[in-house]
């Protein structure tokens, strides 16, 4: 059997290589992606590790790459560009201020004072400025200001140079920038044109600087990806080196790795390659060692099986070399989904969607959206779900809530009328609904519809009475079959681990318990289906089952077949006997074995007295543990049989919900538009169909699809897997650069 049915056999290997070739060798192993390094320095903190400086350097480089997109000499260039740009911006702001100043200056012309100070000051400082001016000069000045932008443009007209000097000093104190303004209008106009030209020039220069900056950055960005991945690889290599041991001579590195046995050769080749690259003379030594530690669980998957393996691992990674439920889940999960989804029209849409995802996989992955990534990862699952839904939809005879009549229905109406049957034309006038009676000859042809549910049920008003009974029984049959399959897989596990004791002590009582009760229930269902009986005398299977457990045979008409009573009593007694077998047999056997061991070892243990005493104490504790554990397992299994079987009824419930929703969409949305007879009907139909399509996709495909997915998953995780799966292993996480790159 290939490795997908069971996790691969792993071995613990010691590697010895020289310090110079360490980097190259680990690089080769990272590309191979098949080894997991064990931590040989578990006690040391991150800061105490040997290569912590190198790791820090790599992290620093990563940070730079992520945030600022600068690197090495590029950093200097960019710094230069940025400072140039800042100076230019400053000049630009100054020129703009002068421009504003000149603009408003003309408004102040009618003041005849010929000395003035003109400038620009920050808006919030202006009131203080004004106040101090008043305090100092007692109104011997005229101050005018305007507020074009955030800054205030002001002019102070004064008489006398001394005052002007003082005001200049005041302006300096307030960090207001002063500009010389010419007296006459002509000079001002000239200055304005001058300033405007300079502004235009500066604008151009600024634009060019920005463009240059952009081109340098884009050139850098092209290499960015490459640098980032290189830094990531280096960081991973140094991190791995931190896990290894360095011996005293500082020349040899010792590493311990977990590796699949079948890949030992490729690992060896990769190491030789790495050491050749680094030019070292000695080739690395590969030494396989025996160990008691539990190896990690490794399931080799390809792109088709990885989706299913990941949904199994989401619940729990399997124990080392325990049976892997994934290959069976690949069919049973989409199948149980389809039983709950059961509509061939919706199934077809789902299959086409999955095909689209499969064919354009790279395109979707480039979008880097989390939700779409999840859909793309599960594309094969969705594809299989769609395919099986088409099949179950054909069996349920449900396509967008309508049925196909391919083979001709088995029910006919004509024989119900005179002279064959009880109806006349008057009967039709009297009542709204009439039941066809299968006992009248000819009404039921005697041969069931060859493929699926008869199409007459789609137009019958008591459709649910038939479908509910059919689907509930179907769910119970599917459930018991699924659970029996799970219990059988536990047998396969016991045989693989050579645990034949558990086969007799656990597997056999479990199987007999389940078969005697629920296998018999299946038999009753099949018997009632296959044998002809009158409707009045047909006993309800549920009541039969309940009475069987209560040993109640008093009521009339409770037999399906002649020898029912003794058979049922026998089966219940057998089932009840299985419970103490499950509960007590294994712990008692273990107890006896340990007692024998203890008595045997006493004469030899005078010198080992301490050891035996400790062992004896630990034995007592573990005996109680074993009893409790076995008790829990028995209760869980026996009660679980009943509750899990009932849990499978969700197959019925969800398929009912889906069918009803789809019928509502047909009756209340599309049929309304189809019944309109006026000319506008076609327009209305087009609009209504759009609504129908949107509702179908969002409610029936997305919502019901997610719901059925979840419930099918739960049925696998709980009802199926608790029969055989332990799921407490740890996953094999090899050093793999491909995986790191895909995870970005």
């Amino acid at each position: 059997m290939d490795s997908f049915f069971r996790s691969e056999e792993m071995c613990l290997v010691q590697l010895f290589f020289q310090t110079e070739s360490a980097h190259n060798c680990i690089n080769e192993l990272g590309h191979l992606g098949l080894v997991q390094f064990k931590d040989l320095n578990p006690g040391t903190v991150a800061f105490q590790r040997r290569f912590v400086k190198e790791v820090k350097k790599c992290e620093e480089m990563e940070r730079i790459l992520r945030k600022y997109s600068r690197f090495d000499k590029l950093e200097q260039e960019l710094k230069e560009i940025n400072s140039n740009r800042d100076t230019l911006r400053q000049n630009f702001t100054q020129l703009m201020e002068i421009n504003h100043l000149l603009k408003v200056f003309d408004a102040f012309l009618f003041y005849l004072h010929d000395r003035f100070v003109a400038g620009v000051i920050k808006h919030e400082r202006f009131p203080a400025f004004e106040k101090i001016l008043w305090r100092l000069f007692h109104g011997n000045f005229v101050l005018r200001h305007e507020d074009p932008v955030k800054k205030d443009v002001f002019v102070v007209f004064v008489q006398g140079d001394q005052i002007r000097g003082k005001i200049r000093k005041l302006c300096d104190g307030f960090h207001a920038s002063m500009y010389p303004c010419p007296n006459n209008a002509y000079a001002r106009k000239e200055m304005r044109t001058n300033v405007n030209t300079r502004i235009e020039d500066l604008r151009l220069v600024l634009k060019r600087t920005e463009e240059f900056r952009e081109t340098t950055l884009t050139a850098a960005a092209a290499n960015l990806q490459e640098w980032a991945s290189k830094v990531k690889k280096m960081k991973a290599i140094y991190y791995t080196l931190n896990l290894c041991n360095i011996d005293i001579t500082q020349k040899l590195i010792v590493a311990e790795i977990w590796c699949p046995v079948s890949d030992l050769n490729s690992v060896h080749t990769a190491l030789i390659h790495g050491s050749e690259q680094s030019g070292s003379s000695l080739s690395p030594v590969v030494n396989r060692i025996q160990t008691q530690q539990t190896p990690p669980t490794f399931n080799r998957v390809n792109s088709f099986t990885s989706g299913f393996q990941s949904i199994i691992d989401a619940y729990g990674v399997g124990n080392y070399q325990e049976i892997n439920p994934a290959p069976y889940t690949m069919v049973t999960f989409p199948f149980l989904f389809a039983v709950m989804f059961g509509d061939c029209g919706h199934g077809l849409v789902m299959t086409l969607l999955a095909l689209w995802l499969i064919l354009h996989q790279e395109h979707f992955r480039k979008l880097k959206n989390e939700l779409i990534d999840m859909l793309v990862d599960g594309r094969y699952i969705i594809f299989l779900m769609g395919l099986f839904s088409i099949y179950t939809g054909l069996i349920y005879n449900d396509c967008f809530s309508k049925s196909f009549n391919v083979f001709g229905s088995s029910w006919s109406v004509r024989p119900m009328f005179h002279p064959h049957g009880p109806w006349t034309n008057d009967t039709l006038h009297d009542s709204g609904h009439l039941h066809l009676d299968p006992l009248v000859s000819g009404v039921y042809s005697g041969n069931p519809y060859p493929f699926g549910v008869d199409p007459i049920w789609n137009i019958a008003s008591n459709k649910l009475s038939f479908l509910n009974s059919y689907k509930m029984k179907m769910s119970v049959i599917m459930g018991v079959a699924h659970m029996l399959f799970g219990v059988t897989l536990s047998l396969v596990n016991y045989i693989f681990f050579r645990n034949l004791k558990d086969v007799a002590l656990q597997f056999i009582p479990e199987v007999i318990f389940m078969l005697s009760l629920f296998g018999y229930l299946i038999f009753l269902i099949l018997y009632k289906w296959c044998v002809v009986m009158k409707s009045e005398s047909a006993p309800s299977i549920l009541l039969l089952f309940i009475n069987m457990m209560l040993f109640d045979y008093s009521s009339e008409g409770t037999v399906l077949y002649r020898t029912q009573k003794p058979v049922q009593i026998f089966l219940v007694v057998v089932a009840v006997l299985m419970v103490p077998w499950l509960l007590f047999a294994k712990p008692l056997l273990l107890y006896r074995k340990h007692k024998q061991l203890k008595f045997l070892s006493l004469p030899f243990c005078l010198s080992l007295f301490f050891g035996v005493k400790k062992a004896f104490v630990s034995l007592q504790v573990s005996m109680a543990d074993i009893f409790v554990y076995q008790g829990i397992h028995t209760i869980e299994y026996c009660l679980g049989c009943i509750s899990n079987t009932a849990s499978y009824l969700r197959l019925w419930a969800l398929s009912l919900a889906h069918a009803e929703l789809s019928e509502v969409l047909w009756k209340m949305v599309l049929q309304v538009a189809l019944r309109v007879t006026s000319g506008m009907g076609s327009v209305l139909l087009a609009v209504t169909f759009a609504a129908f399509a949107v509702l179908t996709v969002t409610i029936l495909l997305v919502m019901e699809g997610l719901s059925a997915f979840l419930h099918a998953l739960r049925l696998h995780w709980v009802e199926f897997q608790n029969k055989f799966y332990k799921g407490s292993g740890y996953k094999f996480t090899p050093l793999s650069f491909n995986r790191m790159r895909d995870m970005q």
Binding site: F4, I395, H429, P450, K463, M474, C530
Partner: protein, 78 residues
């Protein structure tokens, strides 16, 4: 008698899918997985079809139809 025909055909079909096709899957790393999938598909689908047909074999009650439906069916179905 007409019940036997679909029974035989469908049983043979799924028997072929689950029992004969696995022998022709070429050797490769995926052989075991493909065979498992074929067998499980055949078993699941056959069981599902079998339940559907057995449940309709001996009906205990018939469909309840409205007047209009009965009127239509009386003339249009044979």
């Amino acid at each position: 008698m007409a019940f036997a025909i679909p029974m035989v055909i469908v049983t043979l079909f799924w028997g072929f899918v689950g029992g004969v096709v696995p022998w022709f899957i070429p050797k490769g790393p995926n052989r075991g997985v493909v065979i498992t999938m074929l067998v499980l598909t055949a078993v699941c689908c056959y069981l599902f079809w079998l339940i559907a047909i057995l449940s309709q074999l001996n009906p205990l009650f018939g469909p309840a139809l409205s007047n209009d439906t009965i009127w239509y069916l009386q003339f249009h179905w044979r």
